[in-house]
Amino acid sequence: MRAFLKERPSIGLSLFRPALAWTVGAHVIPSLFQLSDNYLHSGFKLKNGSFFPLSILGFVEASPDWVVRLVAILFIFSTVAFGLGYKTRLSCALMTLGCYYFYALNSLHIGTLSYDILLVTLTLVCLFNYTGDAFSLDQFRRGDVAGFWRLRPFFVQRLLQVQLTGIFWGTALAKFTVGGNWLTDNPYYALMHYPQQGVVRDFPLRSFLATQPDLCHSLGLCLIVFEFLVSLSWWFGRTRWLGIALGTAFQIMLWLTLHVPTIFLFLFPAMMLFFVPPEEWLAWIEQRRSYQASRGRAVLLYDGHCGFCKESVKRLQVLDLFGYIDLRDYHTVANLAAIHPSLSLARLESEMVLVEPDGRVSGGFDAFRRLCLRLAFLAPLAPFVHLPGAKAIGGRAYRWVATHRYLFLPRANHCAVGGSGGAAGSSSTKT
């Protein structure tokens, strides 16, 4: 039980969040583009009475069309928000409720066995939602650098590990018990003969396999053994990464050869990563940080008397996962020339300055553009800040913000002179 209750870093759950949101979105959102066919009163619907109590099915079916449209919009927003880690608990709850709602409304398009697996996973993650600790907008909003190392009860991850192994074992077991015919017949061979409109894709080796009954039978047996062994391999340090690689390759192969829902392809490899101890992820981050430190870090000089600037660099620290930047309040630097001979107090009072390890100096919006190229989390912004005209617009916006920086978050400003009213007053003299 200690293996479940121990508190360990929640970084694995945070890494899982985008994969989970993508899996949900990729599966459900396409069905929302045909609302009138699928979910409104004009649609053709199937009800899953073995999953939902009749009362819930009746309640959901009574939804007016405008409610369906509203839930669809809420669902899309909450899925995107959860993927980005914005208001993670609320967005996860809304997204999960949306998943149940559309499933109850019509199971024809989204209802599959893999969707049931997705719902179990979502429910567990939602009940104990630590997925916003890191790699999230929530972490960014809080300026929570410690989020990567936050300790949480490990049982959520453990339960997901047990679930994934149980599903693989259950699937393998069903193939030769309870009517499964993988030992007695030749199901793989039959699949190779499925008609054009069937579940098997037209992959290159298919016509060859359709002439090889013995090979197909052996492949079927290998598949059962594989499903048992690969899920076992995740639990042991020596075989873990090989198991994850093979498990992922298996999901890719399934997707390449069969029209199976992509839930398997998107969700299962991400779940396999739960078997990587969270400490291993953190050790890797630390290793990258040490490597960066040995190569030399960029120095970012900012105004430590300005509350807005301090809050901004705190958030920049969250984005700087691999420790590229050495943040320094220029007021505390005794010898600016030691950092770079071209630095002057006048420049630092007007803009932040980035000095890169190769001696390159950039300031203001240019420094931000350089950071977009250097920090992984800012990389998505890089194409936009390098668009034609972006420099002129961004530079102007930066100068305006820099000029008025003491007016934002005035309580967080450093009072340099006297005790009262210094912050706002000093802003006018400084800027």
């Binding site: 066919d37 999953f51 398009h109 009517g179 199901p187 829902p261």
Partner: protein, 166 residues
């Protein structure tokens, strides 16, 4: 709850410490969740036959029959066809025109989703749906088609009309 408040509860005589209470509730949750997972994995196909009675299913979680992906595959294949009837001519409708939703990365039509319309109890609703989708058609025939043996006679297809929409 603040740290000091927690420690006050922890130290109160006769009270269970908050951390222990949290741990206990976690233990209960873990045990119940694992028990439910294995119960639902084994319920329909293993436990119910063993006990000789249908055991209840937990609503809103878990599939109805455990993890039975591709467990039983026979060399025959049944599917549905929908024909547009105009006068005496019958024209096969592409299923993608009936259910136009395009899933990402796979094709639901290839997963035989159209087969669910064969149930005549759904006929009335499906006919209304077809009339809305294809207003020019005079009527529709919903046909159950089946390859009786994909390996021995791969070109032999048996067809029978399940129901018609007039």
């Amino acid at each position: 709850m603040t740290k000091s408040a927690t420690s006050l509860i922890d130290s109160a005589p006769g009270k269970m410490p908050a951390t222990r209470l949290r741990q206990l509730s976690s233990v209960v949750f873990v045990v119940v969740w694992i028990a439910l997972f294995f119960y639902e994995t084994l319920r329909l196909n293993y436990l119910s036959p063993l006990l000789g009675r249908a055991l209840p299913k937990l609503p809103l979680l878990y599939p109805p029959a455990g993890w039975i992906m591709f467990y039983q595959i026979e060399p025959r294949y049944g599917y549905a066809e929908v024909y547009r009837i105009n006068g005496k001519s019958a024209e096969l409708i592409d299923p993608h025109d009936i259910f136009a939703t395009q899933a990402i990365g796979y094709d639901n039509i290839h997963r035989n989703m159209l087969v669910s319309v064969l149930d005549a109890r759904r006929g009335e609703v499906f006919c209304a749906y077809l009339k809305r989708k294809f207003p020019d058609a005079g009527g529709f025939a919903i046909v159950h088609a089946e390859y009786p043996d994909l390996i021995a006679s791969p070109d032999r297809v048996l067809r029978r009309v399940s129901y018609r929409c007039e």
